[in-house]
């Protein structure tokens, strides 16, 4: 195995990212300062916490818990709504890396509205999660996880913005390949897979009650990585012909995890829960581990690894 200096840069939506690690939506992305802090800790790009038309307080705390390798959350899309978010996310050049918007809506029409009225050209792309398993009115609980809804929503968003559109899909559907194809058909520029898994529930046996304020929540963290790998693998098979990039998200905590998702077919990798499991320094650590792996295995760039587990 020859030693070559590893180059972690990737191209995404015509932008150069210094590395393929993208802060996943919902982690620390409440403010511009917070995104900048994540960028300074090494992320290649960052995603804001999902924004809805009106402000939302979200579910009652506890909203996030962990146990072993599992994180569970039911934040319930708390966010300050479109108007305040517009003020918050301006002057995005300060962040230092590309910033991806995230918008939610109850249906295609509302998501079209969000795309038209919220998105500035400062964002590098917009992500649309159709896949949250624990917020009434949105995602899976609003039937947005079907191929039909995915197609309709993707079209509506594409028609309302010139930004690249990322459709974030769920692992909790049997027909993940069909959903991915619908996103491609609707004109999506990338697919992010996966959102949280489940939902699940923690019960406190002494309180004799579910612990999360909302009762159930989505699972994330190292424990779900095998599911994310499978989903990326399946989506890659489904959309291979289209050349559309996949952002693989779910449980990535080490450089080896990131490589695993890339070999399954991801061109970039989302990182969320690992901010807890390893600390906010995780972006830099994962980059170091990826580079070490690539050097010892003779890979000179990320692209060489994308999807090679399929051959």
């Amino acid at each position: 195995m020859s030693k070559v200096p590893a180059n972690l840069t990737i191209g995404l939506f015509g932008k150069k990212l210094r590395n393929p690690l993208i802060l996943a939506s919902g982690f620390l992305g409440v403010t511009k300062s917070s995104l900048k802090n994540v960028a300074q800790n090494g992320a290649g790009a960052v995603t804001i916490k999902s924004i809805s038309r009106e402000p939302r307080q979200g579910h009652k705390p506890p909203v996030v818990l962990t146990n072993g390798d599992v994180m569970i959350n039911a934040v319930g899309y708390s966010n300050p709504g479109i108007e305040e978010a517009k003020r918050e996310f301006s002057g995005l050049g300060d962040v230092g890396v590309p910033v991806i918007a995230s918008i939610i809506g109850e249906d295609a029409r509302e998501l079209g509205y969000m795309a038209k009225n919220f998105l500035s050209r400062e964002f590098a792309a917009v992500e649309v999660p159709l896949s949250c398993p624990h917020t009434p009115g949105y995602g899976l609980l609003a039937g947005q996880g079907t191929p039909e809804a995915t197609l309709e929503i993707t079209k509506a968003v594409k028609g309302s913005t010139s930004l690249p559109v990322i459709i974030k899909i769920s692992a909790n559907v049997q027909s993940i390949g069909e959903v991915a194809k619908a996103a491609v058909k609707g004109g999506a520029d990338a697919i992010n897979v996966t959102n949280t898994i489940g939902p699940g529930m923690f019960i406190d046996v002494q309180a004799r009650k579910p612990v999360l304020g909302f009762g159930v929540g989505g699972l994330s963290g190292p424990a779900i990585k095998p599911i994310a790998v499978r989903c990326v693998f399946d989506v890659y098979e489904a959309v291979r012909g289209s050349g559309i990039p996949i952002i693989g998200t779910g449980g990535v905590t080490t450089g080896q995890d990131a490589v695993e998702l890339i070999m399954a077919g991801a061109s970039a990798v989302g990182i969320g829960s690992a901010i807890h499991f390893r600390g906010i320094e995780v972006f830099r650590q994962v980059c170091g581990e990826m580079a070490g792996f690539m050097e010892s295995e003779g890979f000179s760039g990320i692209k060489e690894m994308v999807g090679i587990a399929h051959d």
Binding site: V30, T66, S78, P80, A207, K209, T254, E289
Partner: protein
């Protein structure tokens, strides 16, 4: 690269604790005692879960062998729910979390406003036991809200009290007394917790006098352990629950929102 590149983390979830005792510290201010040894350092907080009512942050106010406590001011629905609870009832405790006070300094002044005095009680005892000379200046709206008078006396910690209405001690602010302490007591570090307007004043005074200081900040906490971002501070992006709640005077200077605004549970700004 192997599975053990990073250390296993303990679970972040509440553990039920029976309330051992409820002590009225002052008007609308109760101390809740629990069994256990959380191993907290002064300035750290716990997330307190009341099933059905929610989960909120409270600083550790006492820690002794085998037991510890939080001191709560009744201000809204959650704290009201707590005030309805009695010894034997159970609440969930998660943590302790956050960066503690450094406990540095040979001659230190602790400046507390309102329930901000709660963590300073714990700090005073720890530093005093550690050999530091501890002075306390604490204030409240009126004498009925002053807490820990007995506690400081008992611990032989020199404490001065202020009330807005002059019903006890100095009429005015606890920051007034800080100026006095700085003049007379060769204070080498100030520790402060309370309303942000008061912290701002402490910061101003300490900057002017060139004294190092540490401040415990409050922001809206949701997760409490650094993932959600609801407590991120503008300027630096630091998380109150993780890099804070304690920040140094120097750090405070980089937090652009300090003394100006904070955010509510949805992330909307509210001026302070």
């Amino acid at each position: 690269m192997n599975h053990h590149e990073y250390e296993q983390k303990p679970p972040e979830r509440p553990r039920m604790h029976g309330i051992e005792d409820v002590i009225e510290e002052a008007l609308d201010t109760n101390t809740y005692w629990f069994k256990g040894e959380p191993g907290a350092k002064p300035g750290q907080f716990v997330m307190l879960w009341v099933p059905g009512a929610g989960q909120k942050p409270f600083g550790i106010s006492y820690q002794e062998k085998g037991r510890f406590a939080v001191t709560v001011r009744k201000v809204g629905p959650f704290t009201e729910e707590l005030f309805g609870m009695k010894a034997g009832d159970r609440v969930g405790i998660q943590g302790p979390y956050g960066r503690a006070f450094s406990c540095k300094g040979k001659r230190v002044a602790l400046v507390g406003g309102g329930y901000g005095t709660a963590p300073l009680g714990f700090l005073a005892e720890v530093m005093s036991a550690g050999g530091s000379k501890v002075f306390v200046s604490t204030g409240a709206a009126s004498s009925r809200y002053l807490m820990f008078r007995e506690r400081f006396r008992h611990a032989k910690i020199k404490a001065v009290f202020s009330t807005d209405d002059g019903s006890f001690g100095h009429r005015g602010f606890c920051t007034d007394c800080l100026t006095g302490l700085l003049e007379t007591e060769r204070i080498d570090r100030v520790y402060s917790c309370g309303p942000e307007a008061m912290l701002r004043e402490v910061a101003r005074i300490c900057s002017e006098q060139g004294v190092d200081a540490e401040f415990s900040l409050e922001r809206y906490l949701k997760c409490g352990f650094g993932v959600c971002g609801s407590c991120s501070l503008d300027g630096t992006g630091w998380r109150v629950c993780k890099e804070g709640p304690v920040f140094t005077l120097q750090e405070l200077g980089m937090i652009t929102e300090f003394g100006k605004y904070k955010r509510d549970g949805s992330g909307r700004r509210m001026s302070i």
